[in-house]
Amino acid sequence: MSELDTIEQQVIDLIARKERIPPGSITLDSTLQELGIDSLAGMDLLFDLEETHKLMISDEVAQQMKTVRHVVEAIRTAAQTAQADAATTLQP
């Protein structure tokens, strides 16, 4: 399973658990609104993902999230940035 698949699955599983809906009912194109994720629930979801992956999603990116895909991409981008930053810091 690739990195992307892992993040995708994690996001879907987390939403399923928080919203008490079957993971199979969630697709990348599901909107957060139709999954019942309001602004508060969205904050809670992002908080958990940020803490798990030890990264930060900017407020600007967070405010633009409308679908599960947006969430997955934001986490993936932030994870890559974090990795790149770590690589930079390691250089002498």
Partner: protein, 410 residues
């Protein structure tokens, strides 16, 4: 002149969940004070409290609600649920706009605040920062807001935070809102859940907490010469206040009438209680009630069991009631439900109301030794059958804020 009655009541206290549990405990003179179990105690030198036994918010609330809540709000919602169901209100949209909420709290969401700060400061916990819901969980108005959301109430809704007088001020001010015509129904009371290490440890610093000793249940001894301080508690007391004619028209059960309310400030010392302004608060309540001092049968005392409070409160009662002071039945129910800070006054108002309804005065538990400075009738240790038509409930807060409610048989 608009009058205000109590048409519903609810309580969560160290004596159990619900008004029947509270009343059974009080009437039996049973103490709800025990060793602390709701939080870790490693930092506490004195780990006793009046905890609500087996309070599991999950038994009453949905997982979605729980995520947004502090323990103090959960207790407020449970007590409000009991009061609301008891009142049997069915409101039209228009009536919702005339129904508000006023729930007091001294500290707000102490549990979640303690936990969030712990997450931030203790990196061993593996969290980088407080949970994003921390602010809505801990804000003092959370209890009022959540109750208004639960019952879709759209009238004036606010929070009063006046330390140990919060619950009494909340009920008094809510009654005034009905009298003045701003609302027809108010859900009012107090809620507090301060039994977390940060808060209890801070209270220890004030040197007013009773030591645990070998028998925590007997640690709180108001008015007794061997009293050694207060015991922190938690809980919620909520009443549904209703404009009297409205309540009569719909055939509601009228538990009692809120006839008087007094509110004054010492304008003196932050923690040392005064005499003149509590006296004036009681007189205000009696004057509004149209009651002469000798018409009061029972006083639910502030009675914290600190050396200073109990002697001062005795002096205050002698000032107001003169010779009649010796005929008053006075009790401190904090000896049993502890000092639940912002919830105390509201729990005590429920106790006072039950005293009128049942014709039984709850005792001051753990009363052992007469104190020359406290020489009135504190109904020691055993409940007393006695007809009570009118009573007052006192709350005197840190910060010198005094609140007194007078209620009578409806």
């Amino acid at each position: 002149m608009r009058r205000v009655v109590i048409s519903g009541l609810g309580a969560v206290s160290a004596l159990g969940i619900g008004v029947p549990a509270l009343w059974d405990g009080l009437a039996a003179g049973r103490s709800g004070i025990r060793r602390v179990s709701v939080c870790e105690t490693t930092e506490l030198t004195n780990p006793i409290a009046a905890e609500v036994p087996a309070f599991d918010p999950a038994a009453f609330l949905t997982p979605g609600d729980l995520l947004l809540l502090d323990r103090f709000s959960a207790m407020a919602l449970v007590a409000a649920g009991e009061a609301w169901i008891g009142a049997g209100l069915e409101l039209t949209d228009q009536e919702r706009e005339r129904t508000g909420v006023l729930i007091g709290t001294g500290m707000g969401g102490a549990e979640r605040q303690d936990d969030a700060y712990h997450d931030l400061y203790d990196k061993r916990r593996g969290k980088s920062r407080p949970h994003p819901f921390t602010i809505p969980r801990i804000m003092c108005n959370a209890a009022s807001s959540l109750v208004s959301m639960k019952y879709h109430l759209e009238g004036p809704t606010l929070c009063i935070s006046t330390a140990c007088s919060s619950g009494t001020h909340a009920i008094g001010e809510a009654a005034e809102m009905i009298r003045s015509g701003r609302a027809d129904v108010m859900v009012a009371g107090g809620a507090e859940a301060p039994i977390v290490q940060g808060v209890v440890r801070a209270w220890e610093g004030l040197r007013v907490l009773a030591p645990a000793g070998d028998d925590p249940a007997s640690a709180c001894r108001p008015f007794s010469a061997d009293r050694r301080g207060l015991v922190l508690g938690e809980g919620a007391g909520i009443v549904v206040l209703e404009e009297r004619e409205r309540a009569v028209r719909r055939g509601a059960v009228l538990h009692a009438e809120v006839v008087g309310y007094g509110a004054t400030a010492d304008g003196g010392h932050l923690t040392t209680p005064g005499v003149a302004q509590p006296v004036r608060a009681i007189r205000q309540a009696l004057a509004q009630a149209g009651l002469a001092p000798d018409q009061i049968d029972y006083v639910n005392a502030h009675g914290t069991a600190t050396r200073l409070n109990d002697a001062t409160e005795t002096t205050i009662l002698k000032h107001v009631f003169a010779e009649h002071a010796r005929k008053l039945a006075i009790s401190s129910t904090k000896s049993m439900h502890g000092h639940a800070l912002g919830a105390s006054g509201a729990i005590e108002l429920v106790a006072t109301l039950m005293t009128i309804e049942r014709g039984v005065v709850p005792p001051t538990a753990n009363y052992r030794t007469p104190d020359p400075e406290c020489d009135l009738d504190y109904v020691p240790n055993e409940a007393r059958e006695m007809r009570v038509d009118a009573a007052i409930s006192n709350s005197f807060a840190f910060g010198g804020l005094n609140a007194v409610l007078a209620i009578r048989r409806a």
